[in-house]
């Protein structure tokens, strides 16, 4: 086709674009995916029966604070990488703050407990399944983000995939808190983070294939 003709056609449909369309699209994709993850928790795992009580205690908020802060940082990185700009995932270093804070909590908890209980604190009741469940719950959110990316313009596909995986993993971990009864900080630091990292790794592997446009 002739270029002038193409331009004529393209200029026929020029709807106004909202300023925050990138953020909006990412939010819609994430929320839609997260709703599926919440459904999976409700129907498959079951919401923990003592959720209302747990929400009055510190352990629940420790877990939510950790996963929420990681989510916010990862979503910000995803939004940055959804635009054609030469920025890598170097902007992720603030994530070290929640990780170090949680590690500090973990050490403080261990110092207050007798060393014989340390292994039990670390492994909890569910260390074998926790990372995998986080990964499974991340899948619908990641798919939601893939939908978001269909109108966005990432130019560093691997970095964008990793950021999207990280955001899905961290958000999935937040959702998993509705079920997970574990209370120790070192449990969360190890097994939650492992699930989140798995999601980020898979995102980095899939990014170059799935985010092409």
């Amino acid at each position: 086709m002739n270029t002038d003709h193409l331009i004529e056609q393209l200029a026929r449909e020029v709807p106004p674009v909202r300023r925050n369309v990138v953020g909006l699209r990412i939010a819609i994709g994430m929320i839609a995916g997260a709703l599926i993850s919440v459904l999976v928790v409700i129907l498959w795992l079951g919401v923990r029966p003592d959720l209302a009580d747990a929400m009055r205690g510190p352990a629940f908020w420790m877990k939510w604070g950790y996963t929420l802060s990681l989510s916010v940082l990862a979503i910000a990185a995803t939004a940055r990488l959804a635009r054609p700009e030469p920025s890598g995932i170097g902007g992720l270093w603030p994530m070290a703050v929640p990780v170090l804070l949680l590690a500090g909590f973990g050490v403080a908890e261990m110092l207050r407990a007798p060393p014989t209980t340390w292994l039990a604190m670390w492994l909890g009741h569910s260390w074998r399944v926790c990372p995998w469940i986080v990964l499974i719950l991340a899948a619908p959110i990641f798919i939601g983000l893939l939908w978001s990316f269909r109108r966005l313009a990432p130019t560093r596909l691997r970095a964008a995939g990793a950021a999207a995986g990280l955001a899905s993993g961290a958000f999935a971990a937040m959702v998993y808190c509705l079920h997970c009864p574990e209370v120790s900080a070192i449990f969360v630091l190890t097994w939650y983070s492992l699930g989140i990292l798995l999601a980020a790794t898979i995102g980095a592997l899939l990014g170059p294939r799935l985010l092409r446009w």
């Binding site: 086709m1 270029t3 002038d4 193409l6 331009i7 004529e8 393209l10 200029a11 026929r12 020029v14 709807p15 106004p16 674009v17 909202r18 300023r19 369309v21 990138v22 699209r25 959804a82 635009r83 054609p84 700009e85 030469p86 890598g88 995932i89 170097g90 109108r151 966005l152 313009a153 130019t155 560093r156 596909l157 691997r158 970095a159 092409r212 446009w213």
Partner: protein
């Protein structure tokens, strides 16, 4: 005459606000810019270059929501143009790169690239703003002298001189640092 960054940006924002005439003016102005961009970087028939130009125009149109109105328009445009070109090479289409494709691909390994970038950014910060901007545009973002001149609203010879002086100063600094 080629349109300036301010003019292109104004047209782009007009298009984002729903002004079709402004959007058409933008796309028309981009054609010579993109043709020049691709001709300098890829060798092949005019037809293949034109295909790539059209593909980029489509991308600019379909993904215009990703332009942040507070940022430089040409940086956004050339990032898309570069992405489309690398994608074209990767798919083994007919155009072949003139040079530096290895660098383009290597830059995809983001960890290395961002480390190197941080070093470079650190060094660039020690230069006067104009020289740093000229080097960033022509040597890192891969714009031509003409594109950089448009983007920064200065003359082409001014860009060349800034790059030359800046690189010389950097060289002296790096060698001085080693000794």
């Amino acid at each position: 005459m080629r349109a300036s960054e301010e003019q292109l940006r104004a047209w782009m924002i007009g298009g984002l606000d729903g002004n079709a005439a402004s959007h058409a003016a933008l796309l028309r102005a981009l054609v010579p810019l993109l043709r020049g961009f691709y001709r300098r970087r890829a060798s092949g028939s005019d037809e293949d270059i034109e295909d790539l130009v059209q593909e980029t125009l489509l991308a600019v149109h379909a993904r215009r929501g990703t332009y942040d109105r507070d940022r430089q328009f040409t940086a956004w445009l050339f990032a898309i143009a570069r992405y489309k070109m690398i994608d074209h090479f990767r798919r083994g289409r007919r155009l072949t790169p003139i040079d530096g494709i290895e660098e383009l691909l290597v830059a995809d390994s983001f960890a290395e690239a961002s480390d190197a970038r941080m070093d470079i950014e650190g060094l660039l910060e020690t230069l006067p703003a104009k020289q740093a901007a000229a080097i960033r545009a022509t040597r890192i973002d891969g714009q031509s002298v003409a594109e950089a001149a448009i983007a920064h609203g200065i003359g082409e010879s001014d860009v060349k001189v800034s790059v030359h002086r800046g690189l010389k100063a950097l060289m002296a600094r790096v060698q001085g640092g080693r000794r």
